[in-house]
């Protein structure tokens, strides 16, 4: 509470000299004075007195022997006051009172105010969360308890002494292995229980649930850099190129040991695993295309991110094969393109190879409406984009991209499988909305006249791929 330092408090020394005055505080409508059974609003107070609003005029120099100060309905203290001055106000009289033989318990009043505010906030929160299913809350409490104990356990490890660094590193690695596996299991189990606790599909309720989830266990979860980044979305969108790089790197790095355990646990979820697998899947498709075609080939990666598949291809193909290839990387995030170019070219230099890269910085929305001009490609692929498209948008995107295929071209569209069980966890943990689709959905949306279609997946079957091939 801010103090009003321009006090009008009586000059105690009876002179006009400048003295140190006690701070005056606004009561903000929370304090009342009860005198002879009648309540009066206290305007402000300080250590030696207070200002009060009355309906009737009081005589200055009158003594009020027993005044009860109330904070809301709570009794604070009984004090005696002398009426020092009375001033006419809009709705009564402003009365200045000086306390007799005592001081006003300013600190107590302030603590009461803070405490009441805290209680009020808690009640408000309780009201906010009261509609959540009990089973959800129970599952969350169980999870929170487990995470807390894991954290304590990990902390105790940090305090142990080891005879040499090798022993320390081996023990550390084992600890991370064991703890992360358990956390992974518990997070999945908790997600499942929480998901099952909802009997209706209510997006607003889910929103409240996820907020509550993060409030309860966020301090554990966000020790994982990947989780933290996924949730905070510093680049303004989910699944940015640095996040993808974290998935591909999967080095378990975190500022704290418990954070490393959490990082490993989260990275072991199916979804990050699927992301790693799909780069291998796509690289296999590209390599197969290069091996089966002897002529020049043009590839387009839409929403390329760090273009991990191109790095894999660079390693696996010979220079002669690379010379026939042109890799076009398209992304609306310029920094993603810069990053992809940097790591691919660094790899190329290390390998002593050359690779032809074209970088296209275009907005996805713009592409969907305007297309890519007259460019034609042999293979167009997109692995982490269509999950963010509603059905109409996805269908439209397919048609737009298909127009840019050569007569024998292939369009590969990746999408998370609807059988992915951890979507609740994805939303709760990462606030990561994805649209999941099954085989039937892909067939329905991406059928194009004059093409054949195949539905494939990466090895975990979490990420599906719809391969639309032009019939020559």
């Amino acid at each position: 509470m801010d103090a009003k330092k321009t006090a009008h408090h009586e000059n105690l020394l009876g002179t006009n000299s400048l003295i140190v005055r006690q701070n005056r505080f606004d009561s903000e409508g929370t304090l009342h004075a009860e005198i002879a059974g009648k309540k009066y609003k206290i305007i402000n107070y300080s250590l030696f007195g207070m200002g009060m609003l009355t309906e009737e005029e009081l005589e200055p120099n009158t003594f009020l022997e027993s005044v009860t100060i109330l904070h809301g309905s709570q009794h604070v203290v009984d004090l005696g006051f002398e009426v020092k001055r009375v001033k006419k106000a809009d709705h009564g009289y402003e009365v200045g009172l000086e306390v007799i033989n005592n001081t006003v318990p300013v600190e107590t009043i302030m603590r009461l105010k803070d405490f009441n505010s805290l209680v009020s906030n808690l009640e408000e929160k309780n009201n906010f969360y009261k509609n959540l299913p009990a089973a959800f809350k129970i599952a969350l409490v169980e999870l929170s308890t487990k995470l807390e104990s894991f954290e304590r356990y990990v902390k105790s490890f940090s305090e142990k002494e080891f005879s040499n660094s090798r022993e320390y590193h081996e023990s550390r690695e084992s600890l991370i292995e064991v703890v992360s596996r358990q956390i992974n299991f518990d997070l999945l189990a908790a997600s499942e229980k929480m998901k099952q606790s909802f009997t209706i599909h209510d997006p607003d309720l889910f929103k409240t649930a996820f907020a509550y989830y993060r409030e309860q266990v966020g301090r554990y979860l966000f020790q994982s850099p990947f989780t933290k980044r996924s949730y905070e979305k510093p680049r303004g969108y989910a699944g940015d190129f640095l996040m993808m790089s974290q998935i591909y790197a999967n080095d378990g790095f975190a500022p704290s040991l418990f954070g490393s355990c959490m990082e490993r646990a989260v990275q072991e979820f199916g979804e990050p695993g699927a992301v790693r697998n799909r780069s291998h899947y796509l690289s296999e498709k590209i390599i197969a295309e290069v091996k089966s075609n002897k002529g020049p080939l043009k590839f387009l990666s839409v929403a390329c991110g760090p273009a991990e598949e191109v790095r894999i291809v660079l390693n696996r193909l010979s220079q002669e094969e690379l010379d026939r290839c042109e890799f076009n990387l398209l992304d609306q995030d310029e920094q993603a393109l810069q990053y992809a170019q940097k790591i691919i070219q660094e790899d190329a230099f290390k390998l002593g190879k050359k690779i032809k890269l074209n970088l296209l910085n275009r907005g996805i929305k713009e592409i969907l409406i305007s297309g890519l001009g007259f460019s034609k490609f042999d293979v167009v692929y997109s692995s982490g984009l269509f999950d963010y498209f509603t059905d109409p948008v996805a269908s439209k995107a397919c048609k737009v991209l298909h127009k840019h295929l050569n007569s024998k071209g292939k369009l590969i569209i990746g999408n998370f499988n609807i059988t992915t069980t951890n979507w609740f966890g994805m939303l709760a943990l990462f606030d990561w909305s994805l649209i999941l689709r099954g085989d039937a959905d892909l067939k329905r949306l991406f059928t194009v006249d004059g093409t054949s279609m195949a539905i494939e997946s990466e090895e975990n079957n979490i990420n599906l791929f719809c391969v639309v091939s032009n019939n020559a």
């Binding site: 713009e366 409406i369 509603t390 948008v393 909305s433």
Partner: protein, 483 residues
């Protein structure tokens, strides 16, 4: 600084200093040495001549003291006074020649010296110079002629001829010297005038540069150039102008400024100010004032802009977009998502240079429109642009189609402090990235035209209406196991 007096004044000064020098002790003592010659050649006249010489010296010294007085004498008076020592010298010589009565005496050479001395360096005007020459020569000429006519002595006549020849030579010499002096004087005068003129130019240019430097902090380079070229006049008068005010500030800055690390605070303010002000200048928005972390600007003054409302809107949108693009940097320094609020209003303001000539003057606008922009800013949701309805009305009147590229959301009625009695409609505005976002095959069922592809709050791309809440097939993850 070179200062040049008028020619007459300068001549007077020179004359005075020369004559004062004549009266100095070493000159005077030199004059008394001639008494030795008197004693050797004319011992009978020694005492008499000594008295005459003393009288001359006294005259010269007296004149010297008179000239040293600081009172301003006219050029004519100065020249008259300065003539006296010469006339006194010549008169004494004429007297001595008259007393000696010797046609061969070479005392007449003294006259030649006096005439020569008069001609060289003494800047008498021609009038005074010739008058002095006449006074110096005439008595000797009269004596020589009477002597010649009396004695028929050719030598006496020859002396006169010699004197007159010397006089002629001196006069001619003086004529050339005068010309040279005048030329030198004119050169000096020209140089002094040029220096004065250059100093003035330097002063003017310096003032201009300082002024333009100050202006460049408020105005874009294009406007500063126009002011410099005289195409725009920053009149000293305050004038009424129809402007669009834009106010940008940081949400929750008061709390954050007290808790943020000082280095981070400095950096983030620097980045934020650079972003906001560079965008202001890009759209030729005049930077008006800083109110803490708030930046106030306005369009349509000093340069009238037909699209002054649109410029303010575009600038607001670009600021919002820039902050969003650099959010990673901002939030890392801010410690939480960095959000701004932007408010726009339009109306008439009094615009011009306010301040004190001695201290600070800046080009600013004062009026209700400025206060309104600040209030509207306070209403704006975080990272949103709030705009008064009259701006939209004015734009629609000019171009009905312009606003079709924008998303407008009513903000409802708000009590704005100071504007309680006025009904002010408020909207939030954002630009649709490009008309290319509009689909050509899907329309809003409520008759609002083609749907656009845009991102929902959860990051999902969907086809939605620009004007209402309609979304075509908004798909969220389905709860397969539920309900």
């Amino acid at each position: 600084m070179i200062s040049i007096d008028t020619l007459a004044k300068e001549n007077s000064k020179n004359l005075k200093s020369f004559v004062i020098t004549l009266g100095s002790y070493y000159t005077v003592s030199l004059y008394f040495l001639f008494s030795i010659v008197d004693y050797v050649f004319y011992p009978d006249f020694f005492t008499e001549f000594l008295v005459v010489r003393a009288l001359v010296v006294a005259t010269v010294i007296t004149i010297g003291h008179l000239l040293k007085q600081p009172d301003e004498k006219s050029a004519t008076l100065t020249q008259f006074i300065c003539s006296i020592p010469f006339v006194a010298c010549a008169a004494s010589i004429d007297y001595m020649i008259f007393r000696i009565n010797d046609p061969f005496t070479s005392y007449w050479a003294g006259l030649a010296i006096v005439i020569a001395a008069l001609s060289v360096g003494f800047t008498f005007s021609w009038r005074f110079y010739l008058t002095n020459i006449l006074i110096l020569v005439v008595p000797f000429a009269a004596m020589s002629l009477s002597h010649f006519l009396g004695n028929q002595d050719i030598n006496t006549f020859m002396n006169l001829i010699f004197l007159l020849s010397i006089t002629t030579v001196c006069v001619t010499g003086r004529w050339f010297y005068q010309k040279l002096s005048l030329s030198e004087y004119n050169n000096r005068k020209q140089l002094a005038e040029e220096v004065v003129s250059r100093n003035k130019i330097i002063e003017i240019k310096t003032q201009e540069t300082v002024r333009l430097n100050a202006l460049s902090k408020q105005f874009s380079p294009q406007i500063v150039q126009s002011i410099q070229a005289g195409k725009i006049s920053l009149s000293s008068k305050i004038h009424k102008s129809e402007i669009c005010a834009i106010f940008v500030d940081i949400k929750d800055s008061t709390i954050k400024f007290s808790t943020l690390d000082r280095d981070n605070l400095q950096r983030i303010i620097a980045v934020y100010m650079e972003d906001v002000m560079s965008i202001f200048l890009k759209y030729d928005i005049t930077i008006d004032k800083f109110l803490g972390d708030g930046v106030m600007g306005f369009t349509n003054d000093p340069v009238a802009q037909s699209d002054y409302l649109e410029r303010a809107i575009l600038a607001a949108i670009e600021i919002k977009s820039r902050i969003s693009l650099k959010q990673e940097l901002y939030s890392s320094l801010w410690g939480s998502p960095f959000e701004v609020r932007i408010g726009l209003s339009s109306g008439v303001a009094s615009v011009g240079f306010y301040g004190s000539d001695l201290h600070v003057k800046s080009y600013t606008a004062i009026g209700k429109v400025i206060n309104l922009a600040s209030r509207v800013n306070g209403i704006a949701p975080p990272n949103e642009i709030a705009i008064t309805g009259d701006i939209l009305t004015k734009i629609k009147e000019k171009n009905e189609q312009y606003l079709r590229d924008y998303r407008l959301t009513e903000l409802g009625h708000h009590d704005l402090k100071g504007f309680e009695k006025e009904k002010i409609d408020l909207f939030s505005i954002d630009k649709l990235e490009s008309p290319a976002q509009l689909t050509d095959d899907e329309n809003c069922p409520h008759g609002h035209g083609p749907l656009m592809i845009d991102q929902l709050n959860n990051g999902i791309y969907a086809m939605k209406c620009r004007y209402c809440d309609y979304v075509l097939d908004e798909s969220l993850p389905k709860l397969k196991d539920v309900g």
